[in-house]
Amino acid sequence: MKPGAVAIVGAAETTRLGHIPDMSQIQLHADAALNAMQDAGLTPADIDGVAVAGETPIAIAHYLGITPRWVDGTAVGGCSFMLHVRHAAAAISAGLCRTVLITHGESGRSRIGLNRPPPSPASLVGQFELPFGPMGPPSMFTIPVLRYMKTHGLTHEQLAMVAVVQRQWAGRNPRAMFRDPITVSDVLDSTMIAYPFRLLQCCLVTDGGGALILTAAERARDFPQRPVYVLGTGESVETPMISQMEDFTSSRAFRVAGPTAFAAAGITHKDVDHLMIYDAFAHLPIYGLEDLGFVGRGEAGAFIAAGHTAPGGRLPMNTNGGGLSYTHTGMYGMFALQESVRQMRGTAPAQVEGANISVCHGVGGMFAASGTIIMGREPG
């Protein structure tokens, strides 16, 4: 696929974020989708492709009154939307459809209308992990970190700095849920959740959603918003079992998805002006910076602690405040994509001046899957 052949022409989040006790999950999808269609000046009749995770494409197409000729129900966790962008770009380039709507909605906090079944006790996770007492991502996604700390000498203070820096970005974003500055001591004194992780190193749990609309670049100038071009994409999966990841200090899925996207876009790290790395927990930006090759092995903790990803730093990262401070419904990848779009349009609350290329990197499950999208202000 040619870099810049497909563009994002509609992008929006739900009107409200955070605590939305008056909307079910599917309505959060719809609220975001309607906002994105308005952003693009489209109606459901203009959409001929639907990609969705959390609900089925059937449910979303029916609920919104869309008659698709292409659907994608790839559901690999929080980075599903990165994969949807990748698949949609390929489908549009292949002529399978013209205008794709990608939606996310999740009532993560209010838990209205959720439809995620618990893992079967006969699955490998059910037989060989759940009997030992993990309770969701805070006590599973975090398991590899002590091995990383021993291997590379990452300190508790450096791990805390990830949350401190992201709060600095959140303070510049009126829509962020937590905006008050925090210190390393605040992080290290917050409630212990699953050693070595404390409350402020774990993501929020919120209600919300987001949606994107993609079409071919040659049509993109006909829409009301400045188009944002898809320059390169990558995806991979590794394992549904955190205990079975090949390397506890690095994600194989990251190492496939990231370089695939860079190669497709034909860019190098020096070209990157803005970076999003899905941060459900504080260690993810550390793994992401290394696995995507922005820094060497074991260097990411010091790199973040030195302020290089903070406001004014040379590699602005997670500029919305991230899953740690902005919002995290459960599948945060859509919000990372939204922030990359805003940065490329030049409309982000904490706008990076002169940013032309944004890398948006997602994780799905617990190091189970990954998707990377590289966006540009120009087609190439």
């Binding site: 006969a122 037989q127 759940l130 007492g133 805070p138 212990m192 506890f248």
Partner: protein, 139 residues
């Protein structure tokens, strides 16, 4: 630690040998004959080469503490704080488990410490392989 309501695994045809092993006080792994590589979790073929020529063998039980968290929240069947650990077996594969007969603290749970299995019965069918600090009286 109360095991009354610990989530109970449901064996499948492909994992039956493992659960029969723990019931007999053995850690039974599988190994590919052509590659000679041990692997886990169970499946009737080799995940490295795709070959079906695999055998079940009894692992030594020697393991080291590879990584863990100490969970501080209440979970049915567990008394917090408790460690959720990944152990690395001498034969190579890693598996999730709990570390017993050991304080559930970062000071006591030292990465790479030697461990040995303890077989904890849940019911007539299921016995879990837990681990404890090695006492040196196993091979």
């Amino acid at each position: 630690m109360s095991d009354a309501k610990r989530p109970r695994p449901l064996p499948t045809p492909e994992t039956q040998h493992f659960w029969e092993g723990t019931r007999a006080g053995e850690l039974r792994l599988q190994r590919c004959r052509p590659c000679a590589r041990a692997y886990f979790p169970p499946r009737p073929f080799c995940p490295h080469c795709g070959g079906r020529e695999v055998e079940v063998f009894v692992a030594s039980g020697q393991a080291r503490l590879y990584s863990y968290v100490i969970h501080h929240r209440a979970v049915p069947g567990f008394t917090p704080p408790y460690a959720i650990a990944v152990v690395e077996l001498a034969e190579g594969p890693r598996m999730m488990s709990n570390i017993v007969d050991c304080p559930q603290t970062p000071e006591a749970l030292v990465l790479d410490m030697q461990l040995e299995p303890v077989f904890e019965r849940m019911d007539d069918e299921i016995t879990l392989a837990l681990f404890r600090p090695a006492r040196g009286d196993t091979p």
